[in-house]
Amino acid sequence: MLSRPGKILTLISTLASATIAIAAFASPALALSLNPDAASPGIEKINTLHWILFIVIGIAIVGVNLAILRAAKPRHRHIQSDGKGGGRQLQVGLGLGAVALALFVTATVFSSQAREVPTGSSEVAGLNAEDQLEIRVTGQQWLWRYDYPNASFTYHRLVVPVDTTVALDLVSADVIHGWNVPSLTGKAQAVPGKTSRIYFRADREGVFSGRAFVLSGQGYDSMESEVKVVSPAEYEDFVQQLKAEIQAAQDSVVATQQEELRAAAEETPGGKVEPQP
């Protein structure tokens, strides 16, 4: 049996460790919001749902752990009669069921508004389905390729106009890759043989990025998704210039090849080499 100072010491140390545990749990999470720089309509809803869940879950965790501490605290109690307590079970079960139902309804409402289902339709969340910009995003070990509607393409960085609905068609050239720009789209997997379509509409200019989240081999740690949001005019200039550059590069490659073939044909004695198409 513990002496009186021993009991007090146990009590103090229990309370202190509980306080530390709760503070340690609460402080990092309280200081953080899920996406502080949300830049697309649905992401705000995710933030709100995250806060709701955080508060509900925080209360649940603190409540359960306080109950455990109280139950485990060494002391003499008045022991209740050995009743069956069936009524209490039912009440607690109904209460928890109500909580679960409320959480489910809340989460469903927010999820459908947040366009977080990557295969969802573009009608949700007030996105304009008529003039959306469709971009094909191809994951490969370990970078992303973006194909714009005018047959130009970039690697690493996607450039899109502000205030325009963008539809990304995620595909993969090799293994599963994780597309992840938290401030704009959230996470979606690019799976070989499947196309996942996700939508976003950036409401301000800037550069947004995130890390790939599906282990895809040894260069996985450096695989990043990056989106640069610019004004529509800048976007037009960018893709036009890109197309021109790509055309020029292709032309020069073709020219060089033909030059080499011609030279080879001249060197070959009596030989005749047709230029490749």
Binding site: F25, P28, I46, H50, L53, N65, Q89, S111, T119, K187
Partner: protein
């Protein structure tokens, strides 16, 4: 204790094992079909594995202690991570749960052995083989395709060395072994219960055994099928999981997550069953909501396993799957809440001495409550798809698995340790190891919630200074060290108490289920006499009838006469 019937006449003599005392100890250990020997090998292997898993976790966390660390190379990190995952799931929690159930359940139902002892023995050896195979891969190339090796990455064109083949073979052998043990367990609890032990009188842990073995009988073949398909893809140029040519990479995710989610729930059901037994014994009362607890255990196994797509919220599957997974996951609040309510209020309303089993049980409930609550936010589509594959999800999973698997496992081991070894576990060392482990777990995992909300992704061998997660990771690394020390202390206590612990009587806790009728450790045939079960607490009935017999009173007609 003096009134305990240690020398009852063997009214129903039986040879359970055919064991011969002439053979050397190791040969008897290797060939004994006795469920107690098999289980002790499984449990010892599980605690050896948790040491290895903790060591690997420490190395992984050391690499992640500071941004852009160069302690491990990318491939070494991937290999350690893959082996860590396989060790924690296949070599620690699965054999621990099955080992505990396989040891205790036949005793609790008053059986002299298991129904199919050679099947169980085969299962145990398949498990041992799988474990050795996984670690023998350190001689050539360990698996490197991640904790769950998604095809196409795990296919031959992208990972051409033998690491993934080893992963497939070793997890396959372990799963097959566990499946055989589960079949034996299921047949035993269905057919070999003592006379009078209807299901309504069976202990909660026996219900756990029935639920878990049914669950494994259903999910293990699914996983074995997936492994076979991956093996065919790798070795015979099959196309089950190849995208674009008629295969489906997502099929692997469905099949493997059915198994992993099922295992997660099996761990919860096993430990909650064990904790219920501990709470009933230490508070000396039957749980008032016994039927609610049993119903909730069934609900957890069914609903939890059906929620497998909550791991696939970011994949291009029809959104109906995702809403369904969210519904199932949130519905789990009800059974888990009912069990937590029952256990905590039972402890709260009683007077008891705090002993090691209850302390670990309370720690398990505390840690698992954090993990399970955060899992709820992981399973909502909007938030969950943002948090998946971050350290927030990692921390939630680890809170639940460390809570149920490690703390729940130590609770169950501390409770049945006197029965298994005939010695008491050292209480002081147990208390120290408990607090070190609890502190280590909280320090190791709570900061990772912050890192996950900041967006740090798992499985990456390094992170960068501009991610603002350096402090979280540093604290987590320190905590993992403390947790490792705690695990070493706790395992050391298990080993030392075996030779140094005080001798234990057959019934040190005054339990109410039948395993306490057997000697400590039990004879190979478990019981000399088989009791006639008339209530949910047969040992209490036996004690009462002994008290009556000593007092010289005849039992009134129609009263309980438990010993046949």
């Amino acid at each position: 204790m003096s009134s305990f019937p240690t020398a009852m006449p063997p009214t129903r003599p039986e040879v359970a094992t055919g064991d011969s005392p002439d053979r050397p100890g190791w040969a008897r250990l290797a060939t004994s079909p006795d469920h107690k020997v098999i289980s002790l090998i499984l449990i010892s292997a599980a605690f050896g594995s948790v040491f290895l898993a903790a060591l690997e976790l420490v190395l992984v966390r050391l690499q992640l202690a500071v941004p852009e660390n160069v302690f491990l190379s990318a491939v070494t990190f991937d290999r350690l991570l893959s082996v860590y995952g396989a060790t924690a799931i296949f070599l620690f929690v699965l054999p621990l749960c099955i080992g505990l159930l396989y040891y205790v359940t036949p005793l609790q139902i008053g059986s002299r052995g298991t129904a199919l002892p050679r099947l169980g023995q085969t299962g145990m050896w398949l498990f041992i083989l799988g474990g050795f195979l996984l670690y023998s891969s350190f001689l050539f190339t360990p698996p490197e395709a991640g904790i769950n090796p998604f095809p196409p990455l795990s296919q031959h064109i992208f990972t051409s060395n033998n690491g993934v083949d080893v992963w497939i073979a070793s997890t396959g052998l372990v799963t097959l072994g566990i499946l055989l043990l589960a079949i034996d367990l299921l047949v035993t609890v269905r057919n070999m219960r003592a006379p009078g032990m209807a299901w309504r009188r069976a202990p909660i842990f026996v219900w756990s055994a029935a639920i878990v073995s049914w669950q494994i009988v259903i999910i293990a073949p699914i996983f074995l099928a997936a492994l076979t398909m991956l093996m065919i893809d790798r070795q015979l140029d099959g196309g089950f999981f190849t995208g674009g040519v008629g295969g489906a990479p997502l099929l692997w995710q469905h099949l493997s997550y059915i198994f992993f989610t099922g295992v997660y729930m099996a761990v919860a059901v096993t430990t909650l069953g064990a904790i219920s037994e501990i709470v009933q014994t230490i508070t000396r009362r039957e749980l008032p909501g016994r039927s609610a607890v049993i119903g909730s255990l069934v609900a957890i196994a069914v609903i939890g396993t059906l929620a497998w797509t909550q791991n696939m919220l970011t994949t291009p599957i029809p959104s109906g799957f995702k809403y369904y997974a969210m519904l199932m996951s949130i519905a789990l609040i009800v059974p888990f809440g009912l069990i937590f309510y029952n256990l905590i209020s039972a402890v709260s309303n009683s007077d008891f001495h705090m002993r090691a089993p209850l302390r670990f049980a309370m720690g398990a409930l505390s840690l698992a409550s954090i993990g399970l609550a955060v899992e709820v936010s992981q399973s909502t589509i909007a938030v969950g798809s943002q948090l998946q594959q971050t350290y927030d999800a990692w921390a939630a999973t680890h809170f639940t698995l460390i809570g149920f698997g490690l703390f729940g496992g130590f609770a169950a081991i501390s409770y049945w340790y006197p029965k298994m070894t005939g010695r008491m576990l050292d209480e002081d060392r147990s208390r120290i190891s408990f607090w070190v482990m609890l502190g280590g777990t909280l320090i190791a995992l709570v900061p990772l919630f912050g890192a996950g909300v900041e967006g740090q992704v798992t499985d990456s061998y390094r992170f960068f200074a501009d991610e603002n997660v350096g402090l979280f990771n540093l604290i987590a690394t320190v905590g993992t060290f403390i947790l490792f020390v705690g695990i070493v202390l706790a395992i050391g206590n298990l080993v030392r108490s075996r030779s140094e612990g005080a001798a234990s009587p057959p019934d040190p806790w005054r339990g109410s289920s039948l395993e306490w009728l057997a000697l400590s450790p039990p004879e190979p045939h478990n019981f000399d006499v088989l009791p006639d079960v008339r209530s949910t607490q047969p040992m209490r009935d036996i004690r009462e009838s002994l008290v009556r017999r000593e007092a010289g009173r005849e039992a009134p007609a129609g009263e309980r006469q438990p010993v046949a």
